[in-house]
């Protein structure tokens, strides 16, 4: 039974996909929720197994790497798997209430394939397997965006699809060069032989460009706001919270496993500059949107920028500081996943109340739908990085690391970005506090919708108190410098 929990992360969602395609409506829903429960349980088992035996690998088909594909559970993979389990199950609950039956019927298989792809990416330590996982993820995400079937979301889906395809090919080009140079696809084995020659730099360059395009880092971001802002609400939450994290996760994995922190600092600097531009540009654009969901989507752009600031701070000269930056980045990623999912769900509820997309229509909601505004606000606290929240702890660790390495420019960027995010979130609030005449003319979302949004927001705050619990899962010096 030792092999069960790890394979379960892939098998259960695959079963979910099969079941949701094959069964009739009632059984589909029932089985889907049963499988979600099974997956949550599975994650808990895996956590226990990890506590008892630490990091472990498993060879698919009993063929060890480099010949076969090995899955790996380490702290990072486990954190991301737990994160996706929590966010996905709450989003599924939300979708079950929110979507119309015809939409729900199509939502389930896409949702399950998305989860398969996410888990396969978190676990994989094989370059080509990551490519297949990425493609599965992109196609599932594109399908989810196209779920609402109107012209706007179709355009968004097409834009997203083309960006994602180009990104995947960039990644695959890099894999091709790396395989030709080192003769292996296993990340572990690659890290043993890796040296930063011309061809491997070119390979990594292509891979990073492709992956960052899929993550929507600053100059390659234009596909994200319409896709995330225009999709159905539970889909937006899934995309913003989880999907963009997957390609970023691969960048992070490559960077740390191949010890790129000892590479010339220009690469890290470039990533930092892109990140800073994303923070400022995303914040600025979020401040000027008139649609609520676009505000939240642009806020995602800005948040991606913070993750990028990890890279200039990872260096082998100061292991302590770079470890702080790594921990801070992971916390930011987690906090963003919870908070952004909560924010999107809350925004969806607000839009449901008013029936309009415009920010002006929010007037009066604070008085009549305080619970939703509260959920939105709690998520906003974490996004802005106010204490006590996961977002605050993450930002604080990154700032600490930047100060220790006296890279003050990043501190400045983070402070500016926080100001911007405070501005765009309070701007939304200011609309809701406007008094309107005519009393309560808003629709009332079902309590399940309200509470699922609130629970995610609360979790993002709780993360602020439980940060150490999460960070303990990471190896004490995950950025090992050989």
């Amino acid at each position: 039974m030792v092999h069960f929990p790890m394979a379960g992360l892939v098998v259960f969602p695959l079963l979910g996909a099969l079941v949701s395609l094959a069964l009739s409506q009632r059984w589909r829903t029932l089985m889907s929720f049963a499988l979600i429960l099974a997956l949550l349980l599975n994650n808990a088992l895996l956590l226990l197994q990890f506590y008892s035996q630490g990091m472990f690998n498993e060879a698919m088909g009993n063929w060890p790497a480099p010949l076969g594909i090995e899955l790996r559970i380490d702290g990072l993979a486990l954190i991301f798997s737990l994160m996706s389990a929590i966010v996905a199950s709450i989003c599924a609950l939300y979708a079950y209430v929110y979507l119309r039956p015809a939409q729900l019927k199509l939502f389930w298989p896409f949702f399950w394939f998305l989860w398969v792809a996410l888990n396969s990416i978190w676990l994989s330590s094989d370059l080509f397997n990551l490519y297949v996982g990425l493609e599965l993820l992109s196609l599932a995400a594109v399908g989810l965006v196209a779920l609402s079937r109107d012209a706007l979301s179709l355009a968004a889906a097409l834009r997203y699809l083309f960006a994602a395809l180009l990104g995947s090919i960039g990644y695959l080009l890099g894999v091709a060069l790396l395989y030709a140079t080192y003769g292996t696809l296993s990340l572990v084995e690659l890290s043993q032989h890796f040296s930063l020659t011309l061809s491997s730099s070119v390979a990594l360059g292509f891979m990073f460009i492709g992956l960052l395009m899929k993550t929507a880092v600053f100059p390659m971001h234009s596909w994200l706001p319409p896709a995330h802002g225009g999709a159905l609400t539970p889909v937006s939450a899934l995309l913003s919270a989880l999907v963009i994290k997957a390609s970023f996760y691969i960048v992070l994995r490559l960077w740390t496993e191949l010890s790129l922190d000892s590479a010339p600092t220009s690469a890290g600097l470039l990533m930092g500059i892109l990140g800073s531009a994303a923070i400022l540009w995303g914040g600025w654009m979020a401040l000027h949107q008139t649609h609520l969901k676009l505000v939240v989507a642009y806020s995602t752009l800005a948040q991606i920028g913070y993750f990028m600031l990890i890279f200039p701070l990872l260096s082998d000269t100061n292991p302590h500081a770079s470890h702080l930056a790594f921990q801070g980045g992971i916390l930011m990623l987690l906090a963003h996943a919870l908070a952004k999912a909560g924010m999107f769900l809350a925004a969806g509820n607000l839009l449901f109340c008013t029936g309009q997309k415009d920010l002006h229509s929010l007037a009066g909601l604070s008085r009549y739908r305080p619970l939703n505004i509260f959920a939105f606000g709690l998520a906003g606290v974490s996004i802005m990085g106010l204490p006590p929240s996961g977002g605050f702890n993450g930002k604080w660790l990154i700032i600490q690391s930047a100060m220790l390495q006296s890279q003050w420019q990043w501190v400045l960027v983070i402070l500016l970005g926080s100001l911007l995010s405070a501005a765009y979130i309070f701007r939304v609030f200011s609309y809701t506090y406007q008094e309107v005449e005519g009393g309560d003319r808003f629709k009332q979302p079902s309590p399940l919708l309200e509470w699922s949004a609130l629970s995610l927001s609360v979790l993002s705050i709780l993360l602020g108190f439980a940060s150490m619990l999460v960070l303990d899962l990471l190896p004490s010096h995950s950025v090992v410098t050989q």
């Binding site: 399908g143 179709l154 355009a155 091709a176 395989y179």
Partner: protein
């Protein structure tokens, strides 16, 4: 120069042309063709380059390319479905931002 390497360079050319076309064209079908060229170029590099390192057929990259081709076809089919639906709804085969003043 081994024939493997020649085709790897051919793949490089295909990639370049593919990227050029992908960025230049606004017509979605042409963009899709460009993506497929890019994919074929990548596959050629993958097989050609790793075989030129060994000097004989290497089955691992060949198997990877087989997987890659199927994935590319799936992506192409998906893109075509989207493009058609988009064209049916809007009578355009380009994205709104590329349509320009008309």
């Amino acid at each position: 120069m081994s024939s493997y390497l020649i085709f790897a360079y051919g793949g490089v050319g295909l990639c370049g042309i593919g990227v050029f076309g992908f960025i230049l064209h606004t017509h979605l079908l042409r963009r899709l063709i460009a993506f497929n060229l890019l994919g074929s170029g990548t596959f050629l590099i993958l097989v050609g380059l790793s075989q030129s390192g060994r000097g004989e057929a290497d089955y691992i990259p060949q198997a990877l390319v087989l997987t890659g081709i199927v994935v590319a076809v799936a992506a192409t089919a998906l893109a075509l479905v989207l493009i058609r639906r988009w064209a049916a709804l809007t009578q355009h085969a380009t994205l709104p931002e590329d349509q320009g003043p008309s």
